[in-house]
C-alpha cells in the first residue's frame, strides 16, 4: 500500500513537471511575454523541452541502478511519452505555424537541410516507440520490444545533432546535451557488458 501510494505520488509529480513547460508557454503567451519573435521562441522552447525530457527518460534506469530506487522504473513510460508529446508539438509548430503548412518549403527543408532531416528522422523513429509503449505491446513483442525501444538512443542522438547544427555559433548547450547523452550511453554499454561477459554491447 505504501509502495502504491509512493508510485501514485511520483506519477503525479511527473504529470505536474511534464505539463509545466506547456503551462509556462501558455502563460507567457497570454501575458505577451514571449519576446519580439514569439513563433521562434515557442519553437525553440518546445524543442529544448523534448530533448531534455528524452535525456531524463534515458537517465531513469541509470539513476535507479546507482541509487537502488526501484520505484523509479515505472516513470520511464510517462516521461518518455511527455518527451514524444513535446517533440510532436515542436514538429507541428514548425510545420503549421512557422512554415504555415507550405508543403513545398517543408519538403525542401527536410530534403536539403541536414539539421531538419535529422530532427524529422528522430521524430519518425519515436512514433513506433510511443505506439508500442503500452503493457499489451510489451507482452506481444516480447524480447523484440527491448530491441525496438533501444531506438530511443538513436533518436536522442539525432536530436542532439539537430540542436548542434541549428545554432549559429554558440554550441555550449548542444555540447552539454551531447555530453549528458554520451555519459548515459557509456553507462548502459558498460552495464550490458558486465551482465553478459564476452558478448558485444548492443
Amino acid at each position: 500500500m505504501n509502495k502504491k501510494r509512493r508510485l501514485l505520488l511520483l506519477k503525479g509529480l511527473v504529470w505536474l513537471l511534464g505539463l509545466a513547460p506547456l503551462a509556462w508557454l501558455i502563460w507567457r503567451g497570454f501575458t505577451d511575454r514571449l519576446g519580439a519573435n514569439p513563433i521562434e521562441q515557442v519553437l525553440h522552447r518546445l524543442g529544448d523541452t523534448a530533448l531534455i525530457l528524452l535525456l531524463v527518460t534515458l537517465s531513469i534506469t541509470p539513476v535507479r541502478r546507482l541509487t537502488g530506487w526501484t520505484s523509479l522504473a515505472p516513470l520511464r513510460r510517462p516521461v518518455g511519452l511527455f518527451a514524444f508529446f513535446y517533440l510532436t508539438m515542436h514538429f507541428l509548430w514548425y510545420a503549421v505555424v512557422d512554415q504555415t503548412l507550405d508543403m513545398e518549403f517543408i519538403i525542401e527543408d527536410i530534403m536539403e537541410r541536414p539539421y531538419i532531416l535529422v530532427g524529422f528522422t528522430a521524430w519518425l523513429l519515436l512514433i513506433p516507440l510511443a505506439i508500442t509503449s503500452t503493457r499489451g505491446w510489451i507482452r506481444r513483442l516480447k524480447k523484440n520490444w527491448q530491441r525496438i525501444h533501444r531506438l530511443v538512443y538513436v533518436a536522442t542522438s539525432l536530436g542532439a545533432l539537430h540542436f548542434y547544427w541549428q545554432v549559429k555559433l554558440d554550441t555550449y548547450w548542444p555540447i552539454v546535451a551531447a555530453t549528458v547523452l554520451a555519459v548515459l550511453m557509456l553507462l548502459r554499454i558498460r552495464w550490458s557488458r558486465q551482465s553478459r561477459p564476452g558478448s558485444p554491447a548492443d
Partner: protein, 327 residues
C-alpha cells in the same frame, strides 16, 4: 521624383526649422540640412530609395513619444517594427549570444565619452571625440529594412548620416580600397567578451565604393533618440542591403586598407559567412534557406528580396560578380 512622403506628416516637419543642439547629449553641429539640400548633395538616390523621411535639424535626444511614428512607412509601404522589439531582440555577442541578452546586459557599456580613431591609408588620420567625429555628418532619419542572416527582419527608423561624409574628411589615398571598422574591446563594459565565442574585437568592413554609397550610414540613434546600448551605442554602421551582421556596433576605429578586412563572422565560419554578405534569396546559407524571412510582428513569412529590396540602387556595385562565389 520618387520621394515617398507620408501624407500625414505635416510639411512643417520635413522643413528645416532650426538646429537644436543639446550639448549634454551630443549632436553633429551641422545636423540641420534641408531634404532638398540632401538631394542636391548627391544623397538623393539612396535616401529616396531607403524611404528616407527627411527631418533634419532635430536634436538627438528625442523619445519615441515625441513623434507619431505610427504613420511612417517605407517606400514599399511597410510598417515600422515597434521600438520595444527593435531594442529587445538583438544580436550583439559582446553582451551574450541570446537575443534578449544585450537588452539585459548592455547597461555596463559607457557610450560617453567616446572616441574614434581614423587611420590607415588616408591623408587625414586622427583620433576624434564622438561629437567631432560626426561633425561633417548630415543628420537625418532613414527608414530601412534590416534583414538578419538568421532569416528574420525588421523595419527600423535610424537616425544618422552618410558614411561617405566622414570618409571624405579622412581623404583616403588612391591605393586604399577598403574600410575596416572595429568594435570596442573591454570585457568589463562588454561582459560577453569574457567568452571566446567570437575573436574580439568584432571586425567588419566594406569595399570603399560600397562605403561611399549613399545608402550606407553611420547611425547614432533610432526612433529619434540616442541609440540604446544594446543597439550599438553610441555609433554603428547600417548597410541595409547586407545581412545585419555587417552592421558593426559601438565603433571605435575606422581604418583604410588595401586588402579586404577579415570580418569576424568570416573568421568564425568562413564556409557560411563571407565578406560581402549581400542579402540574396537565391544564395542559401549552407544550413538554412534564405528565400524567405520572418518580419517580426508578422505571421506569414515574406519573400526575401534581392539586396533586401535595394537592388535598383546597389546592383551596379556588383556588376559581373558571381554572387554565389562572393557571398
Amino acid at each position: 521624383m520618387l520621394i515617398r512622403k507620408p501624407n500625414d506628416i505635416p510639411s512643417s516637419e520635413i522643413t528645416p526649422e532650426r538646429v537644436y543642439i543639446n550639448r549634454r547629449q551630443f549632436i553633429g553641429k551641422s545636423a540641420g540640412i534641408a531634404l532638398g539640400g540632401a538631394a542636391g548633395s548627391g544623397l538623393i538616390g539612396g535616401a529616396i530609395a531607403g524611404g528616407l523621411v527627411g527631418r533634419p535639424g532635430r536634436a538627438m535626444a528625442q523619445t519615441p513619444g515625441q513623434r507619431d511614428w505610427s504613420a511612417v512607412r517605407t517606400e514599399r509601404d511597410e510598417e515600422l517594427t515597434p521600438f520595444e522589439d527593435v531594442t529587445s531582440y538583438n544580436n550583439f555577442y559582446e553582451f551574450g549570444t541570446q537575443k534578449e541578452d544585450p537588452a539585459r546586459n548592455a547597461h555596463t557599456l559607457q557610450p560617453r565619452p567616446w572616441s574614434i580613431e581614423v587611420g590607415g591609408m588616408c591623408a587625414n588620420p586622427g583620433v576624434y571625440g564622438l561629437e567631432e567625429f560626426v561633425q561633417p555628418g548630415k543628420m537625418e532619419d532613414r527608414i530601412y529594412r534590416m534583414r538578419c542572416v538568421e532569416a528574420w527582419s525588421m523595419v527600423i527608423p535610424w537616425y544618422g548620416f552618410a558614411l561617405k561624409d566622414v570618409i571624405d574628411r579622412a581623404e583616403p589615398l588612391g591605393s586604399a580600397r577598403y574600410v575596416e571598422f572595429k568594435t570596442l574591446v573591454d570585457p568589463v563594459q562588454m561582459p560577453g567578451q569574457r567568452s571566446r565565442v567570437l575573436d574580439w574585437p568584432y571586425v567588419e568592413g566594406l569595399r570603399l565604393d560600397e562605403a561611399r554609397h549613399p545608402l550606407a550610414i553611420l547611425a547614432t540613434g533610432v526612433y529619434g533618440q540616442d541609440l540604446p546600448n544594446q543597439n550599438g551605442a553610441p555609433i554603428r554602421l547600417v548597410v541595409p542591403w547586407k545581412y545585419g551582421f555587417k552592421g558593426i556596433k559601438s565603433i571605435v576605429s575606422m581604418t583604410f586598407t588595401e586588402q579586404p578586412p577579415y570580418n569576424s563572422w568570416q573568421r568564425a565560419i568562413s564556409s557560411e559567412y563571407g565578406f560581402y554578405a549581400n542579402v540574396n534569396p537565391e544564395v542559401n546559407h549552407p544550413r538554412w534557406s534564405q528565400a524567405r524571412e520572418r518580419r517580426l510582428g508578422e505571421f506569414n513569412r515574406r519573400e526575401t528580396l534581392l539586396f533586401n529590396g535595394y537592388v535598383d540602387q546597389v546592383a551596379g556595385l556588383y556588376a559581373g560578380m558571381d554572387l554565389r562565389v562572393y557571398y
